[in-house]
């Protein structure tokens, strides 16, 4: 059995940041759930206007992107810089798919006159999902920077903390959506 690590993969600073981000999302989720408890009818009624097929595609896209990131980390651990960059680009493509599908979803709602002030459900739906949307963009920028450095040969099988740091952030983005999807789209 291999020795266990004292610290999680990647820079410890990113894990402090991840904890902060996860705490904010936990507060958001709790606020959604407790507000819903006071407006159950309203939340159940407007939840039905959401497209769960789009949410399914987005969940599959984010999980697939996370898997690609895992393969990128495995590739650099095996010393394959080009392999690492390729897996990261594939992950970014999945992130882009998420953004396109989410934008289509927003477009549908906005074209029907939905805004933040339409009602409490839409206020939570838009703000929660858009906050997450911004994190996806941020994650894609980080993955792109890491992919570029990997392609230039900045990481090796022994020295690849940057890849693990970017990977940890991206998995956090996935993790948040894993709770957001059932909470906003399915639970009633």
């Amino acid at each position: 059995m291999t020795d266990k690590l004292k610290q999680p993969p990647g820079d410890l600073a990113i894990w402090i940041f991840i904890c902060a981000e996860l705490s904010v999302f936990a507060v958001f989720f709790a606020a959604y759930a407790f507000t819903r408890a006071k407006h159950v009818e309203l939340f159940n009624q407007y939840q039905q206007t959401l497209n769960t097929n789009y949410a399914l595609i987005n969940t599959l896209a984010l999980i697939t992107s996370s898997y690609f990131v895992v393969r990128a980390v495995a590739a650099i651990r095996e010393g394959s810089q080009r392999g690492c960059a390729r897996w990261l680009l594939a992950a970014i493509a999945m992130g882009a798919l998420f953004l396109v599908v989410k934008s289509m979803e927003y477009q549908h709602h906005f074209s029907h006159g939905v805004t933040l002030s339409t009602n409490t459900f839409y206020m939570f739906y838009i703000s929660l999902t858009f906050f997450h949307f911004m994190h996806v963009i941020m994650g894609m920028v980080i993955l792109a920077a890491v992919a570029l450095k990997a392609r230039r040969g900045a990481y090796t099988a022994d020295r690849h903390t940057g890849v693990e740091t970017g990977a940890s952030y991206w998995h956090m983005v996935d993790l948040v959506w894993i709770i957001l999807f059932p909470l906003v789209y399915v639970m009633r």
Partner: protein, 101 residues
């Protein structure tokens, strides 16, 4: 004990992370199907909600352990994702129980 099928050379031909990925995809489809077809399935709302929340917690735990690599970490960091999952899940459960009363 190896958790993946082995080739004749003894090397795994499917990585553990690929098995976890396929499991995550399957659990996602189950969550979606429960939401989409609940009118036909007929689960009470609370049962549906707690089932999909439980599935989400399992998925989150798998992501933390296998994708983020926390199963290879000792000490408090080992449990950071699991503890985080428990926090919103407990509050969400409490809120849904409150809503059901």
């Amino acid at each position: 004990m190896p958790m993946t099928p082995q080739t004749a050379q003894g090397k795994a031909f499917i990585r553990p992370c690929t098995v976890i990925y396929l499991l995550l995809m399957a659990l996602t489809l189950v969550t979606w199907a429960l939401g989409k077809f609940n009118a036909q399935i007929g689960l009470p709302a609370m049962t549906l909600s707690m089932t999909v929340l439980g599935i989400a917690m399992l998925k989150g735990h798998l992501i933390g352990d296998f994708f983020m690599g926390l199963r290879r970490v000792r000490g408090p960091w080992r449990w950071v994702v699991t503890l985080w999952l428990l926090l919103p899940a407990s509050l969400i459960t409490l809120a849904f129980m409150q809503a059901g009363q």
